[in-house]
């Protein structure tokens, strides 16, 4: 199903990787950060993600997302958890109205780092994968093709509805609908804009349903073939094994350090 997404992806090792291998990567990196006792591992992974983004030639939007999300959430959580976490005992900074506690700050840092690892790896996967390939890969491993259709159709329907709503907005403007002014008048403009979109989309869906039925969408017991072939290469196997080994290692080390048998991380004066 060719779409606008097929053009926007620059060719890179990451883009050629099998989508399932990337999903394994997202899970293993995220879980490893989650189980690690403090934020140092996550910080390392984030640096790696930035390098990967540079290799995949999506560094600019990637850093935009990471900073655009990372900075506000760090400030928020440092404020909420750092100043008001119930487990704060050691004060590291005395603001006039509140005290910044060590334990809460460490906890906030851990959460932010985990979130950024998940967000970053997910975003990279998303930016370097053509959705059609992802869905083809999903159906390969046995996800029902109807689910695949739902994902792809949702992706296609939304831009289509946005075009439609632009048309409706213009025509309602032409009839004298005000979309500016105070809150009440803006709220009143909501329904005349939304109603026509919804109703025309619903009638549209009727046609879609019939079209799909005539092409045998509802047939049972037949394995649908895919237009796109996704090849699993040797490098994908290597990457999947690497990711799994990494996750297992991180899990073991985290367990050992929790049990107090080895000290991994820098001692921050208190457990985060």
């Amino acid at each position: 199903m060719p779409g606008p997404e097929s053009n926007g992806i620059p060719d890179s090792p990451l883009a050629r990787m099998h989508p399932m291998a990337k999903i394994v990567g997202v899970c293993s990196l995220g879980l490893a950060t989650l189980v690690w006792p403090d934020f140092t591992l996550g910080l390392g992974i984030i640096v790696m993600l930035f390098i990967a983004a540079a290799l995949a030639r999506v560094l600019r939007p990637f850093s935009g997302v990471m900073l655009g999300f990372g900075i506000p959430v760090t400030l928020m959580l440092l404020f909420i958890q750092g100043c008001y976490s119930p487990r704060n005992t050691k004060v590291i900074l005395d603001l006039r109205f509140a005290e910044l506690g060590l334990e809460g700050s460490l906890y906030a840092a851990k959460i932010v780092v985990t979130l950024l690892v998940f967000l970053g790896s997910f975003y990279l996967t998303n930016k370097t994968t053509y959705m059609g390939r992802l869905v083809a890969a999903l159906t390969q491993i046995g996800v029902p093709s109807k689910i695949g259709y739902l994902i792809l159709a949702s992706l296609n329907v939304v831009p289509q509805m946005q075009r439609r709503i632009a048309i409706i907005e213009q025509s309602q403007h032409a009839r004298g609908l005000e979309t500016g002014g105070g809150l009440i008048s803006r709220a009143r403009a909501f329904l005349p804009l939304l109603g026509p979109v919804v109703l025309s989309s619903l009638t549209d869906s009727q046609e879609r349903g019939m079209t799909l039925e005539t092409r045998g969408f509802g047939i049972r017991g037949v394995r649908q073939t895919s237009y796109l072939e996704v090849v699993w290469r040797r490098s994908d196997t290597v990457m999947t094994i690497l990711f799994t080994v990494f996750l297992v290692l991180a899990l073991m080390l985290a367990c050992l350090s929790r049990a107090g048998m080895i000290t991994l991380a820098i001692q921050w004066g208190g457990r985060a």
Binding site: F79, C83, Y149, V158, A187, L194, S200, L212
Partner: protein, 262 residues
Amino acid sequence: MSARSLWRGITAQFSTKSLVLIPIAVGINLIGGTLSSTLKLPLFLDMIGTTVIACLSGPWVAALCGLLTNVFLALVANPVYLPYALSSVLCGLVIGYMVKAGLFKRIWGVVLVWLACALVNTVTASLITVLVYGGATGVNGTSVLTAALVVAVKNIVISVLSSSMLENLIDKGITVLIAYVIVRRIPKRFLSQYALDGSEDQADLDDLDEDEDEDGHEAAGASSQESSSQPVKVDIGAEADRGSSPGTPADLGCDHTQGSER
């Protein structure tokens, strides 16, 4: 045995017609969000489609629709929205079963749906915010409210809960009201193909819709976008006017919330 019949009931909801509706409903959800941000309303309004599809095809389809909406939001907007899929799914189920129980036919039922939906969303979304994100996500104004409340009451869980409750009561009230108006606008010829305990619903919609029936057909039949949007728009305006004049509880609630936002 009962589990099997329940499962059969669930799979029966996923006919091709319902499956085709899901992307549309996901689109409506997202369009609601986009519209409210272009009109600069301080709301999400991203559950209109889920509510409409809950009325058309049943609870489990609505749940799947909620899940897909959040997956889509995570794909195109921000992965932060992914964990909140849980609250969308639960809301879809709750609305679906309440509609199935016939609550969407009367005004007090709609108010109940609104309250239940707001409650479910408040509890699950706050739990996710606290457990996954430690108190704030930083993606909307609610986080600022939470931070302000933390300063006031010095308790993270309570402040997240109360800011989320305030936001949800307003947001879901308007969402449910809009969905209610839309569902009553849908021509009954269209509704009849989705078998959601068909006969009762149809009888009820018959007496609700008798005067606008012709317009509905006209809207369904017209091929061009402009000409089809005209009669529908007029209808909705008339409906809103007529609905607000007797001062029904749902409308009072809506007026109240809009007043309080100001």
